[in-house]
Symmetry: D2
Subunit: 276 residues, 4 copies
C-alpha cells in the first residue's frame, strides 16, 4: 500500500474507500451523454432516443443548472435550469429511450419524490464537491452517486469526499474527474478553454483504490475540438467510462456552446472506444 | 472600467457588485483572530479577553468545523466541532470580551435562532464558496457575510458569488481571500504549506470593485512562520483587514497545529500594522 | 487559422513555423528509448541491441547530464555525464545496433567533430529550451533537433523557440513535450512525481502547426508506474512518437531510479502501440 | 535546519549556499531601475540622471534583449537590443549619473572586455536561469551576479543554480525573484498579466539561506498598476531590494509598454519604501 495512504489509514481517516470488491457499474465502458441543460421536453426526448441508437449507456441533462454569474432574466421558462419541469421531461426521456438518467442535485432539500423518481444516478456538481451537508444526505440513499471533482480537488479531498459518502452506508459511488485550475497559457489562444484536464489523476486513483472513474472530457477542456482526443486518452489511461456533453445544435446551446459535440463527433468517439 | 468586466455588465451578468458607496466595515483595519475550532468554554472565553486586550477587532472560532477526511471518533465532545455547544460558548466569549463573533455556517438548515444569536459575522467556508443554495439564503439575511474564496476561486467565480448574495438584498458582504491550489514546490520543503497565497488578487479586486477584503494569512500558507510576513504584505497591498488563526497553545491545537500563531507573534503583527 | 496565431503572423512574429509540408520523421511512430545517462560502454551497447530487437526506433543516452544540484564528487568517471567518453560509447552502440543516436548538447561550444559524429538527433534539454545562443547555432546545422519543452514552456514560448531554429534555416525540428510545473497535490502521495503531464498540449499544437511531436512520459510523470498509461494516452492524443527512459536495472540507475522502466514494461508499451 | 535541506546537505548536494556571513550588497534596500531595453544614448543617459536624483541605487538597461518570438526586422538599430552599442551607452550613463550598471549576459561568449567594462552587476535572465555553461563561467568571475528565477524555478532549482555559481568561487550572488507560471484566471481580465508573483518565495528562501534577494515587481505582474502595491509587499516580506522597470514614456516603450512605470509612480514607490 502507498506509504502516505497507509498513514491516513493508521490515523483512522481513510479506510472504507480502500476496501476491496466494492460496487461497480453493471456495464463498462459506461458512456453518459446529453446536453448541459434540459431545454424542452421535445428536445430531450428526441435526443435521448438518438443517443440510445448510437450506443450511449445513460442520458445526462441538467434540470438544476448553476452558473458562475447569477441568471437574472429567465430565457423562456429556463432560469438556471427548467427545474421541476426539467425533471419531468427527463422521466419522459427515460420512458421513450430506456436510458437511465444522470442529473444533478444541488441541495439536500432537493431530495424528494419527484427527483428520486426522475434520477437514476445523482450527480454532485463541481461546486458542491465538498458540500458536506449534501454528501451526508447522499450517504443515506440507495442510489448511485456520481461525485464530480471540484475545479481543484486534491487527491486527499477526492478520497475524503468519497469516504464521507461511504461512511453513511451508500457504497454506490463513482468519481467523475474533470478539468482543474492551475494551468496558464491556453485561454488566450483557445478562448473557451478554462481548465487543465489533469488526466494523470486516473492512474493515480487507480493505484490507490477501486472506486469507478468516469472522465468528463467536455469540462476537462471547455473546447469541443479537444473532446475526441481527450476522450480516447482517458480510456487509454484506464477510465471506466465517460460523460460527454452533446447537443443537437451545439452552437445554439443555452450554455457552453463551444463545448458540446455534435452527433457525428460523438458517433466517431464511440466507434473508436468500442472498436479498441 | 475594465474591458472584460464591462462585457459582463453589458451581458447583465454583473452589475450590483460594481455599484459605488456600498457597505464597509465600521472599523478598519478589521482584525479577526481566534482558534480554528472552539475547544471548550473556558478556552474560548479566556482567549477572547486576551485578544481584545491585544487590540483584536473580532473573535473567530469554529463551532462547525469541516475536515478533509470525515472524523469518525469524537475527541471528547468534539466531532468536526462542538456544534451547538460551540455556539453557546461563543456567546459567553462575546459577553466577557465585548468582541463580535465570526463563525461558519455550512448549510441553510443551520440558520436558526441559536446561530443567529451567536454569530455577528457569518463565514462561508472555502468548501461552500459556490454552494448556491446557501448563498441564496444568506442573501436574505441582515447580517455581515464573510465569503471565503474557494481553494481556487477565479476572479469570475469570486465576483459571481458576491453578486449572488447581493442579488438577494443583503449588501453587507466582504470577501475573505486565502491560499489557492496551483503552486508546486513548497510542500516537500515546508510540509505544512499546501497553498499559494495569491496576494495579487488584492490589488486585482480593488481595481474592479469596492467590496471590502479580509485576507487570511493562516490559510494562505499553512505555516505559522510565514503568517507574520504575509500579514504585513497583505496590508501593504491594500487589504481592509486580516483573519489570523491564533491559539493559546498552538502545538496542541485540535486542528492545524503548524498553522496557528501564539499570542506573542500575534502581538508583534498587530504592533506592526497599527504603527504604520 | 486560430485568431491569436493570426495576430502573431500579422505582426511578423510567427510565420515559418506555420508553413505547410515541412519536415517529418521518416518513420512513425518514432520510438526513442534508453537510459537517462550513458553509464559504461558495455551497458549502452548491450542495451542498444536489446532495444533494437524490441522494436525501438532510436537510442537515447545522455553524455552530458545536467543535474539540479551541482555534482561535486565524480561516481567513477561519471560527473554530470561521461562527456566525451559517453559520446564515443554512443558511437559504438550505433555501430552494434544500427539505431540512430539521440543525445543532448548543452552549449554552442559543444558542437564539434566528435559530437556531430556521435549524435544523429540533437536534443535541446529542458533547461536550455530558451537558450537563444544555442538555438541560433542549431538553426545553422543540417541535423534533426529535438527541442524539449521547458518545465513551463507556454504555447507562445514553444512556438517562438521553434521559429527561432527555423529562422536559421534548419527545418528539421521536432518538439519534445514533457511534464510541467503548476500541479500540486501528487508529490506527497507519490514522492517521485514532480510534474504535470499537460497532455492537452498535443492536440493544442496539432491544431496550430504541423511540427512533429515526441512525447516524454518519463519526464512527464517522474514515476515508472505511470509511464505505460501516459504513453498510451499520448499516442491516443496524436503524438508522432515517444521518448521513454529505460534501464537494464532501473533501481540502480545513476539518475532518476524511480522513473526508468524495465525491458518488460517497455515491451508491453510497444506491443500496445504497434498493435493498435 | 529545515529537514529537507538537511538531507540535501547530507547527500553533499547543497552546502556552500548555506554557509553564514556571506556577501551582501553594500547598501540596502538596493533599488535598481531603468528601461527594459536601452533605446538610445540620449535616452539612457538622461534617464539615469533622473533616476539617481530620485534615489535609485543602480541603473538597469538591456543591451541584449531576448524576446519570446524572434525579432526579424530591426527597429532602427535595435534588434533584440542595441547590443555592443547598448553597452557603450550604458558606460556613458554610468559616467554621467554615477550609478552602477545592471545588465544581462546571455552567453559565455559575450563575456569580453567591453561587457566586463560596462556591466557592474551581471544579470542572468529568466531563460538562462539553468544555462549551466553560462553559470559555470560566471562562477569564475569577480563580479556581482543577479540570478533571475526561471518562470518556474522551484526551490530546489533556485538553490541548485546559486550553489553552482558559488562552487566556481564567486560568492557575490543575489537571487532575483520574479513572476512564475501556474496561475490562471488573471489574463482574460488584465491582458498584460502573464505570471503569478509568488511572493511567498521571499520568506521561504529567507528561512533557508542568507543569499540576498532582489524582487522584480514588473516581471512579477506584467501590469504597471500592480507594480506599486507588489513592491511594497515584497519589501514587507523581507526583500533586500527591488528591480523596477521604468521608462520616460512607458506607452511608447519598445518592449513591454503595459509594464513599465513612469517617474511619478517610481517616486511614490521609493518614498513609501524609504519612509517606512
Amino acid at each position: 500500500m502507498n506509504q502516505y495512504i497507509k498513514t491516513l489509514v493508521d490515523q483512522g481517516k481513510l479506510d472504507i474507500v480502500l476496501q476491496k470488491n466494492r460496487w461497480k457499474f453493471d456495464q463498462t465502458p459506461y458512456i453518459i451523454s446529453g446536453p448541459c441543460s434540459v431545454e424542452s421536453e421535445e428536445m430531450i426526448v428526441d435526443w435521448a432516443v438518438k443517443l440510445r441508437d448510437l450506443g450511449v449507456t445513460a442520458l445526462r441533462g441538467g434540470a438544476f443548472k448553476p452558473c458562475t454569474y447569477p441568471v437574472k432574466k429567465a430565457i423562456g421558462n429556463w432560469k438556471e435550469g427548467l427545474r421541476e419541469d426539467g425533471l419531468k421531461f427527463l422521466i419522459s426521456a427515460r420512458e421513450e429511450s430506456g436510458l437511465p438518467i444522470v442529473s444533478e442535485i444541488m441541495d439536500a432539500r432537493q431530495i424528494n419524490e419527484l427527483s428520486m423518481d426522475a434520477i437514476d444516478v445523482i450527480q454532485v456538481g463541481t461546486r458542491n464537491f465538498q458540500n458536506y451537508s449534501l454528501l451526508d444526505e447522499l450517504g443515506k440513499l440507495d442510489k448511485v452517486i456520481l461525485l464530480k471533482r471540484g475545479t481543484w480537488g486534491t487527491i486527499d479531498e477526492i478520497l475524503g469526499a468519497v469516504e464521507r459518502i461511504l461512511v453513511g452506508g451508500n457504497s454506490k459511488v463513482a468519481i467523475c474527474l474533470r478539468g482543474v485550475v492551475g494551468m496558464p497559457s491556453y485561454r488566450h489562444v483557445f478562448p473557451s478553454t478554462r481548465w487543465a484536464p489533469d488526466l494523470m489523476m486516473i492512474p493515480a486513483l487507480k493505484e490507490l483504490c477501486e472506486i469507478p472513474i468516469i472522465y468528463d472530457p467536455s469540462h476537462a477542456t471547455g473546447y469541443s475540438n479537444f473532446v475526441a482526443p481527450i476522450s480516447k486518452a482517458a480510456m487509454a489511461l484506464g477510465a471506466d467510462g465517460l460523460t460527454i456533453e452533446s447537443h443537437p445544435d451545439p452552437v445554439n446551446s443555452i450554455s457552453d456552446p463551444d463545448q458540446a459535440v455534435s452527433i457525428d463527433t460523438l458517433g466517431s468517439i464511440l466507434k473508436d472506444i468500442y472498436e479498441r
